[in-house]
Every structure is written in C-alpha cells, then in structure tokens.
C-alpha cells in the first residue's frame, strides 16, 4: 500500500522543500510543517539502464537489475521531484504522487480537484 507523498513547508515564509532541509534556504527559518504534494506534471522521462547488470547484496546474493522508468515531476506545490513513473507516462502528463518508502512514485491519473 502506498502512503501520502508530502513535502516540507517553511512555517515562516511558505517555501516548499523536498528533500527536507534544516534551515529554510529563503528565510533561514527552522520550523517546518508537512504539506500534501499528491499531484504534479511530468516534465522529463527516461528509462534508466543499470550501469552494472547485476549487483552483489551485502550477504553475497546477486540481484538482477532491470530498467527503471523515471521522471522529473513538478509538483503542484512547487518542488520538482525525481520519481518512478508509469510505463505509459509521457512529458506533459498529469500524475498522482504517492510515497513508496522514502521515495516518490507517480501513478496515472488526475487527483480530485483541490478544494
């Protein structure tokens, strides 16, 4: 199951940060609050081939690596995030963003209009 994808917003000046910062680059504030960043527009797409096809895991097992479709997604709240994107996603597409562990994953389709 996926969780909500959020970015940090500076409590003082509203700067939206992803990945998280400690001091706000804009106003040097130190207080942040979470803000939902569940939608955005795909700006660029690539299919990354692994530099090495197989890699050794710490316990000596080998992991076969495969191609990954990645995108640069401009969230509606500001920050551009690097995310997994669906196989049929193309630049210009609107996507929904979810959190997958600590990273962003984009799913097809538009979120319900913000209220």
């Amino acid at each position: 199951m996926s969780a909500s994808f959020t970015v940090d917003v500076c409590s003082r000046c509203g700067y939206a940060a992803y990945p998280p910062r400690i001091l706000c680059p804009q106003c040097a504030g130190t207080e942040w609050r979470r803000r939902l960043a569940d939608s955005g527009v795909v700006e660029e797409i690539t299919v990354r081939r692994p530099v090495f096809k197989r890699r050794q895991l710490p316990l000596g097992n080998w992991l076969d690596q495969s191609e990954t479709r990645l995108g640069s997604v401009r969230t509606d709240v500001g920050p551009v995030v690097i995310a997994r994107v669906p196989d049929d996603a193309e630049p210009g597409d609107r996507v929904r963003l979810h959190a997958q562990a600590s990273t962003a994953i984009a799913l097809p389709g538009q979120v319900a209009e913000a209220t």
Binding site: R48, V51, Q65, T68, P79, R84
Partner: protein
C-alpha cells in the same frame, strides 16, 4: 591571485578497467603521487603537505595514506567535493604555502572503481541519495543528466547530432593520449547507434568508469625557480557552491555568476585562453559551462560544436577528457588540472598544443539532489 606559489609537476596513474584485486585505491593514489614527484624532480622526503580526495579510501584517511607512503607532514587535508575537489584542494594549498604552513604540497585524487565501489559511492553519495534517490532505484546520476539534457535540448533547439560533437571532438584528442580508454576515432554513426543508457543519453554521453589516480605538486616560486622544468602559475581561482539551492533548471550554472570576477581577477578574457579544460561528466555540462564562462561566441552553440570543436579542433579537454580517458571516481576532479599542467609545461607529447601559455580549468560536481552544487574554476599560466 598568487605570486608566491607554482605547480611544478603532475602525473596520472594508468587508467584501467577491471584492475586486479591487489590494485586498491591507495595503489592508484600512490602511483600518481610517485609520478608527480618524479615529474617535478622532488624527493618524497621534501614533501611536507598532502591533500587527498577519494570516494573509496575509507576506512583510511589522508593521514593513513601519508603513513603508507612514508610521509612526515606539517599540513594535511581531505576533500570530499568530487568533480570540484582538485581545484578546491589547490585553493587551500595555495594559502597554506603562502602562509608558510607547508612548502611542498602533493595533492592527489583517485579511486578503484569497480562494481562494489561504484554502488557504495552512488548509493551512499549523501543522505539524499541514500534515502530519496538510490531506492528508486537510480543507480548513479545518468538519469538526472538525461533530464537536464532534455531541458537543454528543448531550450536551445539542439539534437543528438549536436551533443555528439563533444565526445567526437574529444575522441580525436584521445587518439593522441596513450592513457585514454577510448582512443579510436568516433564517427557520428557510431555515436547515434550507441547503446542507450538513459535516453537520450547513450554510452558515449556517459564517462567510462575506470580505476586510477591523478596527482600534482604545488610549492613556492622560490623552490620552483630552482627546478629544471618550467612551472605553472595560478592566476586565479573562483568558486561558488549551492548557487541555486537545487531549485533551478541547472541550465544556468554557478559559473554565470562568477565568470566576470574570474576573468577580471585573471587579467584575461575568454579569447586569451590557449586551452580549456571544462569538466565533462556529460556533453550537456560542457556546453552549460562553456556558455556561462564566455567561451561560446555570441552563445552560438551549433557553431561552437560543429565548427570550433569538431572542424577546427579547438584545444578543449585535450586528453580526450573524462568522456574518452575515463572517470576514476574523484580523479575526475583532477584529470583536467593534470592535463592543463602537462600542456603548459610542454610535456604532452603527440597532443601538445603549440604555444600553450594560458589555460582554463573548471570543476563541477556533487549532485546533492538533481544537479551539481559545486562550481570552481582556475586560470593557469606557463611561467618563465
């Protein structure tokens, strides 16, 4: 910038793919250090300062490397700025020598870079890579620079046949560098048909991963004057870090902000440069830097690419650059410096640039999330 300091020797270890197990990071670093001291004509025991940049030296540090090489030191440093580490260490070493903290400083960079070291480096490059990029999985910066190339191509109306000019022109130089891993001339057809890595980037847009090391020797002008071979002076170094906080599109680099000050402090203009060493992790970054530093007349990129680089063979990245010679981890941040020093001292053999007196070297790197955060540049001159 400094009348008191000079570079008096430089060397590169062999750059190799798939080194034997006994050739470790410290082996390559020591090979480069020994080579640079021999090039300078300076004995190991005269060295009193050492700086090192390496992604894979751990658990060792600079002091361990010094001890392994039998060095007694008055000054030691370690630098972690990857593609900007060579110029960054030089900036520190100049001040140390001027202040009398050290007299003979050797700076070295390098890595054994095989599958294991590569994944350790890319997956734990920093906290952001470990937590927000590696798990995608990202597996190194190729995809990020694919995005950057796509933005650049859109903004400048360029196609793959234009970006091809950078590796093709550099490959022509690499044919005259016995140390380069790619030496055969490359045709446009070969480039266009090469294996996709992160489209539009293909194999020849990405640096070949190698193991190796680079080193150079910095000392006082007094000592330099007593040495037989010509020395290299440092007219200026300028740097800018985190210029856009990773919020920009990266098509404008930090060099745009420091270019005027760089040239003014060098007492030179871009057209005075006899050879340029522009950090070439990807063709697109060569172009972004070249424009921001004023190397591209009228900002006309097609003319710069097709005429200046390919047809005229303008001396840029005359070793073949990292795109042909290879990237040995942190040595990528010193490769251009070593080639510039070699050229300015007239020791570049078959690829020697006639009348090379003034050279520009840039450093770029450390992707903190989407693109490089570190920018620095040096203007070097042949002395005497």
């Amino acid at each position: 910038m400094t009348d008191a300091v000079a570079i008096v020797g430089a060397a590169e270890s062999a750059y190799v793919r798939h080194p034997s197990v006994e050739r470790r990071t410290e082996t390559f670093l020591a090979e480069a250090v020994v080579g640079a001291l021999a090039d300078a004509g300076i004995h190991r025991d005269d060295v009193d300062g050492l700086g090192v940049a390496s992604f894979s030296l751990a658990p060792d540090h600079a002091i361990d490397l010094a001890w392994r090489m039998g060095m007694r030191l008055r000054w030691v440093m370690e630098d972690t700025n990857g593609g900007a580490s060579g110029i960054n260490m030089l900036q520190h070493a100049i001040r140390a020598i001027e202040a009398g903290d050290a007299e003979v400083v050797v700076l070295c960079s390098g890595d054994r870079m095989e599958k294991r070291e590569f994944h350790l480096m890319t997956d734990r490059y920093n906290r952001v890579s470990r937590d927000f990029l590696a798990p995608l999985p990202l597996n190194g910066p190729n995809a990020l620079f694919s995005f950057l190339t796509q933005r650049h191509a859109r903004a400048n109306g360029l196609g793959r046949e234009d970006y091809a000019c950078v590796p093709i022109a550099q490959r022509a130089w690499a044919g005259r560098n016995p140390g380069a891993v790619y030496r055969a001339p490359m045709t446009l057809e070969e480039y266009m048909e090469s294996v996709p890595i992160a489209p539009p980037l293909t194999r020849y847009d990405c640096v070949p991963i190698v193991s190796g090391g680079d080193a150079f020797v910095v000392t006082t002008r007094e000592r330099a004057a007593r040495l037989a071979a010509p020395a290299v002076g440092i007219r200026t170094i300028r740097a800018l870090f985190n210029h856009d906080q990773q919020d920009g599109d990266a098509l404008t680099t930090g060099f745009a902000e420091i270019a005027d000050d760089l040239w003014a402090s060098a007492g030179a203009r871009p057209e005075d440069i006899d050879a340029a060493y522009v950090y070439d992790d990807y063709p697109v970054m060569v172009l972004c830097q070249a424009v921001d530093l004023g190397l591209v007349d009228d900002g006309d990129l097609p003319r710069f690419l097709h005429r200046r680089l390919v047809e005229d063979g303008w001396p840029m990245n005359t070793s073949g650059g990292q795109l042909s010679a290879g990237q040995a981890g942190a040595a990528g941040g010193m490769h251009g410096l070593v080639e510039a020093v070699t050229q300015l001292r007239g020791r570049a053999g078959e690829r020697q640039v006639g009348g090379a007196e003034l050279a520009l070297v840039t450093g770029y790197g450390m992707v903190v999330y989407k693109h490089g955060a570190c920018h620095n540049a040096a203007v070097l001159e042949r002395l005497g």
